[in-house]
Structures are given as C-alpha cells and as structure tokens.
C-alpha cells in the first residue's frame, strides 16, 4: 500500500472489526470502492478488488476524530504546519482533526478559515475541521463574526486555551453562538484563580516550589459555564477536563438535561503531577496534570461515557520552546502519534475497555461536531487499521510531527497503526 496512490478498490480481510455502532466482531470482509464502504461480509469477500490488505491480528475501526489539535498554521511554521501535522495525525490513526483557532493570526474571520481550509485541501493528509475563535484575537472582549465563521466552514467556536475573563461577555458569547446553532468549545479555567500558575497546586508543586493552578480554577469555571449554558440553551463542549470534581459536575449537568459534552486529553488519563518531578518540561501542559485520584476519575468517566471524547491536545513545539527552566517553557506535548498506544496501555491494565477507548476516539467526538462515522455499507471510507500488539518506539526517526516532545520516549510502545484511509485513500501506510 503506498501513500497518495489513487486506486479503484481495496479489500480488507481478517482482523477484528469495530463498526462504530457497538462491540467488536471478527471482520467479515470489507470492500472499499470509490472512497466509500462498498460492501461488508460475503459479498465483499467474493468481490474482486485492485488491492487487498491482510488485517490479521489487527483492529479495523472508523478513522479517529480529534477535537483538539494544533496544526500551527498559519503563523507558527517553526513548530509545525498543516502538511507535517496532518501526516502525524494519519500516523496516529486519525482521519479528521479539528484545528484549534490559536493560530497567528487567530482564526477569528472567514478569511483565516478559508486559508486553513485551502491549506488542508492542498497539503493536508487528513480532514481538517476549523474551529473558529469566538472572540476577536481570542482576547475575550469583542465577538467575532460567528455567522461568517460558520458559513466559512467552522464546525464550532471557542476561545482556544484562553478563558473569557468577564462572565457577562461569556454569557453573550453563548447567546450569540446559540442563535446560529453553533457549538461552543471552552477550556474551563478561571484566569484570576489560575494566575501565573503552570502546575497542579498540590504536593509536587509544593515540594518543587512551582506556581500552582488550583483545582478550583477549573471547577469554578465549569460551574459558571454550565449555569450559563443552561440559561442560554447553547450547546456547550468542555475541552480538556483535568479534575474529578469537574467530572461530577458534568455528570450532574447531563442528568439534568443540559446540552453539554466534554473531552479529556489522553495525557490526563495516563500521567499525574508526579511526571513533573525532576522538572520535566515536557509535562508542562495546560490544564496541568493533577492527582492520581483525578486521573482515575477521568478514566472512569471515559469508561462510563460521561466524558464523550479523548483528544490529543497536540501541541508541536520547536526545541527552544521546551529548552529552558520549566516555568519558562511553553505548555503542550506532541501527542497525536502516541495517543493510541497510550490508550492501549490503559486497556492492557484493565482501566478502560477497548470498545470505550475506540468510542471516545470515533463516535463520541463525531457527535460533538455532527459527523456520523461507521463502517457500514455506503459510509465514507475513513478507516484506521492498527495492530494492538506490534511495537514501535517514538523517536525523531519515527515521528512525522515537527514536535518531538512526546509523552513517552526511550521505550517501546504497543499499538502500531498499519493503515489509515481518508476517503478510501491511504494517508498513512506502515512500511514495516
């Protein structure tokens, strides 16, 4: 299988099929033709195809969907661009990524949205869905042209990782977005409480003398946003939760029928504040990695569906951004390529079911942005085939992202993506 080679048809045999509707089953045969799932089962097996792929030992799933990815384009070419980061996404099994509005210039106008879409059309390896900036320049003061952003193709609007300081403006943002049926995506953080912090306000920050971001910086913002969403009726998506208390409030809001969804970054499910011991600047992330109790509650929330999606929160950086004393470094990990492997470690340890992991990477995020993935006849052929037991080691050689600050380095990971199809065409194919 080679990249970018158009072909008429492809037959995938063997392996386990996760169709995105329920539990996994053994693959009855999958025929892909003209960018669509043409047939499943006996008719697929008997059909003749130009190419075939033996997926024995592999899992076949709908392509993964990432609700939070920084492609760094336009404006941050030294950290990455659409070409490099969408190839990294395909390597990670993703076929769709939502592009964060935190670019330079910020994606707060239809012109920037078009720029991103044009870049994705000409140089992107996977589908790119832009998320618009709800306030101009992400400054949290003036509304962006939300109708214009929607018409230009933004699937949602949000304020990137920056909060909106003023509750009155936040309320108006929600009410205005609701007018157009736009989903709002917010990273809940009370800026006054987070202040200059960059680490979880807990034992590790206390021992290392790091400036803390208290848990209440998140929970106070979650509560405020839930109340305002309830009042304005907007569809609210909470991005990158980090604390157990936030999960409780989210579950309660869902029970009460508030239109709210939420995601969590994979690194929040795998690491805790302990990762900062030794001042490891890779784990300077925002929101910060919190306690083991928080981590467990977040994993449980993915398992029981309270949290809808797992995201990469991919933040490729140039080396200078991380080569400094921890407080002076920029937050974020280059995470999209190792996400699946980290998720499979949770599955191996029995903390998360494989079906739940895959749902949080496919149907869960799809519902947030109005997609309906599934490996059924007639569906668009966005497919990920991975071998859960095959090993690989993240390194400058194996990573396609421009950012090399990965959460795990120097050891093998299980779970290798063999084939990623976007619209039926290979966006990533494992050479071996």
């Amino acid at each position: 299988m080679s990249l970018g080679q158009p072909y008429g048809s492809l037959k995938i045999t063997g392996g386990t099929l996760f169709d995105g509707m329920g539990e996994a089953s053994s693959n009855p045969g999958l025929l892909i033709q003209d960018g669509k799932v043409a047939a499943l089962g006996a008719s697929a097996l008997s059909a003749s195809a130009e190419q075939s792929f033996d997926a024995s030992g592999c899992v076949i799933a709908p392509g993964f969907i990432d609700l939070c990815c920084n492609l760094r384009e336009p404006g941050n070419g030294q950290k990455g661009n659409i070409a490099t980061e969408t190839r990294a996404a395909a390597h990670g099994g993703f076929t769709t990524v939502c592009a964060s509005p935190e670019t330079s210039p910020v994606n707060d106008s239809s012109a920037v949205t078009h720029l991103i879409r044009d870049g994705a059309d000409s140089r992107g390896a996977v589908r790119v869905l832009p998320v618009g900036a709800i306030t101009r320049g992400l400054d949290g003061e003036l509304l962006s042209d939300l109708a214009g952003l929607k018409n230009a193709g933004c699937v949602a609007v949000g304020n990137g990782s920056r909060g909106i300081r003023n509750a009155r403006i936040l309320r108006r943002c929600m009410a205005y977005a609701q007018t157009f049926g736009l989903t709002v995506m917010f990273s809940p953080e009370n800026q006054a409480l987070a202040a200059d912090g960059y680490a979880h306000d807990g034992q590790v920050a206390t021992r290392l003398g790091l400036l803390g971001i208290p848990e209440v910086a998140e929970t106070a913002a979650v509560m405020e946003m839930l109340l305002l969403a309830e009042e304005t009726g907007v569809k609210l998506h909470l991005s990158q939760l980090s604390s157990a208390r936030s999960v409780e409030m989210l579950a309660d809001a869902k029970r009460r029928g508030i239109q709210v969804t939420a995601d969590v970054a994979m690194h929040q499910l795998c690491f805790t504040e302990d990762a900062l011991a030794g001042f490891d600047s890779r784990f300077h992330v925002r929101p910060p990695l919190r306690s083991e109790a928080d981590r467990k509650a977040l994993v449980a929330a993915v398992q029981n569906g309270v949290i809808d999606a797992i995201v990469s929160q991919h933040h490729p950086h140039d080396s200078a951004a991380k080569q400094a004393p921890l407080p002076a470094t920029e937050p974020g990990l280059s995470s999209i390529e190792s996400l699946l492997s980290l998720g499979l470690e949770l599955v191996d340890r029995g903390e998360l079911g494989l079906a739940q992991l895959l749902a949080a990477l496919t149907t869960g995020p799809a519902a947030v942005v109005g997609l309906s993935p599934g490996l059924v006849a007639g569906a668009v052929a966005d497919v990920c085939v991975f071998d859960p037991t095959a090993h690989w080691r993240p390194s400058a050689k194996t990573l396609l992202s421009s950012g090399h600050h990965v959460p795990v380095s120097g050891r093998d990971l299980s779970g290798r993506v063999r084939l990623t199809l976007v619209n039926g065409h290979p966006a990533w194919a494992d050479a071996g």
Binding site: Q203, A205, T206, L208, A277, F279, L326
Partner: protein
C-alpha cells in the same frame, strides 16, 4: 505510569553515590548530609588561620552565575571558592545577557566555551539549576545557590551546621520555621534537612495565605498561633518577609504581621530557655524580629554567616571531587576497553 525517574539523584550523585552537583536536598540521605556537615567542620579551622587557603580547587575556574541579585550569598560563595584556591568569575546575568534577549541555553554555551569547572547558580525560576545540570557538558559541577521557591540547599545546610554546633545533634529537637513559607526556598530545604537528620518535630508557623498547598506533605506540622507554636521549641527560624506581600491580599499590613508572627522577647520566653534564634537574613527589624531578640544572647544569626563559608567550601570541594572521580572512572573504562 511514571514518565521518568522522579528522584533527582541520577542527576546529582555519581554511580558510587558521591555528590557531583548540588541541586536539592531531596534524595540525599542522612549519611551524605552528615558528611557535608563534617567536611564543613573541618573547613571552619581554615577560616581561623592567618593564611585562609587550601589548594583543593587550585587551577579550577568557578563561575558565580547570578541571574537574581544577591550580595551575601554571592560573597560567601566567592570567599569559599577563593579559600579553596579556585579562580572565580562573578557574573551578574540579571543585568547582562538575558536582558538582551539571549536564552539561558545560549548564555550557558558561551560560558562553557570559557572552560569553567563549576557554575554556582542563582535563578528566580524553580528548577533552573536542574535544567543547567542537564544541559551542560559532563564534568562541570552545578551548585544551586537558590532557585525560585524550590530550594536553597547550601543555606539549609549552613543552618543545620549552626544547629548542630549549638545543640550537639538533631535527635529530639523541636524546630519551628516562622513566616512566609509559601515563597521560601529556604524553608523547603530546611524542612527536608531537618526531617532527614532526625529532628523530632518541625513546625511551620504562618497565616493560611503564606503556606503552600498540602504543606504537611513536606514533613511538618502547621500552627497558626505563634504562642502555641513556640512551646517547647529548641530552635526557632524566622524568615524574611518581602515588602510586596501586602499586595495581592496575602497580608493586611506589616503591623498586623509583626503583632501576630513577629518574634519578640515575650514570645521567645515561651520556648525552651536555651532555644536558639536563627534567620537566613537579611533581617527586617520590626517586621519579623525585634532588635532585642536579633541581637540578644539566644541569637546565632552571625554564626550562620560564618558557617556559610565553610558549608560552601564543603559542597564545592565534594562536588568537584565527585566530578573528578567520575572522570577518572571514565578514563579507566576507556583505557580498559582499548587494552
């Protein structure tokens, strides 16, 4: 899932357990801390000679790399290095390269090109000495002279030396640290040292706004009331209160702080009669300590300064010794591989 080795020891100790950097007291055991104190004791005698020099660091270049200004700490490091016969270069970086936009990594590359053997680093950001130790070429020792709120290990060790001189040891001691614990790298290192050396009880006495989250996890008890906190004390350590703490609603006023947490003779009388009074300096008379106490018979504040030179000589010579031993080991290994 741990991302990396959480103990700093792989960085600051050689494989044989010798010091090669001195970044934090975390992970250093009682034996090594005692070794530092004993070595410092032996250097105190050097300071009493008419010619106050030993040749342990002769031909070595020590660079005092101060990204944050300091007079006393820098001068004691300078004196310590000179008494060990090293060549000393003082760089006040806070007013030079980094203010011109040069990154810390680039500054270091330039300094390494001058073939230095040791950097004494003070920096306003927690973890800066760790970062430097990870990025310098092997063979260059890094000594932490205070980083952010994280650690000030030589200050804590000179305080331990002072306590040992006056109390004979640490077993059974009750020690309180009073004042701005939140912003204090000194307090963090002191609590760690006192716990490792076997003090019976470490108390922190401060209002809630000046205590870090989960401070008890460092190995101390919290006391809001100073009168209760002074009871049965063997040692009371006062911390400096920065003026800017009145901003941002950490404290209402210096006056209220002094009334509640300032050390005066009446409060000192609540401790054991032979309780010693310490302060890492510089003192704010009338803000955290009354002059009559600071200059009184129980005060050992000036001893601390003298001990500072001996401790820094000890740490510098031990770290250089560790670096040398490691270099020899590597040479032997490579020669062994060749023959």
């Amino acid at each position: 899932m741990t991302a990396n080795d959480p103990s700093p020891n792989h960085l600051q100790l050689t494989r044989e357990g010798q010091l090669r950097h001195f970044l934090t007291l975390d992970g250093l055991n009682r034996e090594l801390l005692t070794d530092i104190l004993d070595t410092a004791d032996s250097f105190i005698e050097v300071g009493e000679r008419s010619i106050k020099k030993v040749p342990l660091l002769r031909g070595r270049t020590v660079v005092n790399l101060f990204f944050e200004s300091s007079t006393r700490t820098r001068s004691t490091f300078e004196l310590a290095a000179k008494r060990l016969s090293a060549d000393v270069l003082n760089l006040d970086i806070s007013t030079s390269a980094t203010s011109k936009g040069e990154s810390l990594s680039d500054t270091l590359l330039n300094l390494e090109a001058m073939a230095s053997d040791m950097f004494v680093v003070r920096h306003s950001q927690s973890g800066a000495p760790h970062f430097i130790a990870e990025s310098v070429t092997p063979g260059v020792a890094i000594i932490n002279a205070g980083d952010g709120r994280h650690a000030h290990p030589t200050q804590a060790m000179l305080d331990m030396l002072t306590i040992r001189q006056h109390k004979g040891g640490f077993t059974g001691l009750k020690v309180a640290i009073v004042g701005d614990i939140l912003h204090s790298r000194v307090a963090r290192s002191q609590i760690r040292a006192l716990n490792e050396l076997g003090a019976e009880e470490v108390r922190v006495i401060a209002p809630g706004t000046l205590l870090p989250r989960d401070v008890e996890s460092l190995g101390c008890k919290v006391e809001y009331d100073m009168a209760r906190g002074m009871k049965d004390l063997d040692v009371v350590i006062m911390l400096r209160l920065q003026n800017e703490r009145m901003e941002g609603a950490l404290l209402p006023s210096e006056r209220e702080f002094y009334r509640l947490y300032g050390l005066n003779q009446a409060k000192l009388a609540l401790a054991k009669p032979d309780c010693i009074v310490m302060h890492p300096g510089p003192i704010n008379r009338g803000v955290e300590i009354e002059s009559a106490v600071a200059d009184g018979p129980q005060s050992v504040i000036l001893n601390q300064v003298t001990n500072g030179i001996a401790i820094r000589m000890a740490v510098m010579s031990m770290a250089m010794g560790g670096q040398m031993a490691e270099r020899q080991q590597k040479q032997m290994n490579s020669e062994g591989a060749r023959s």
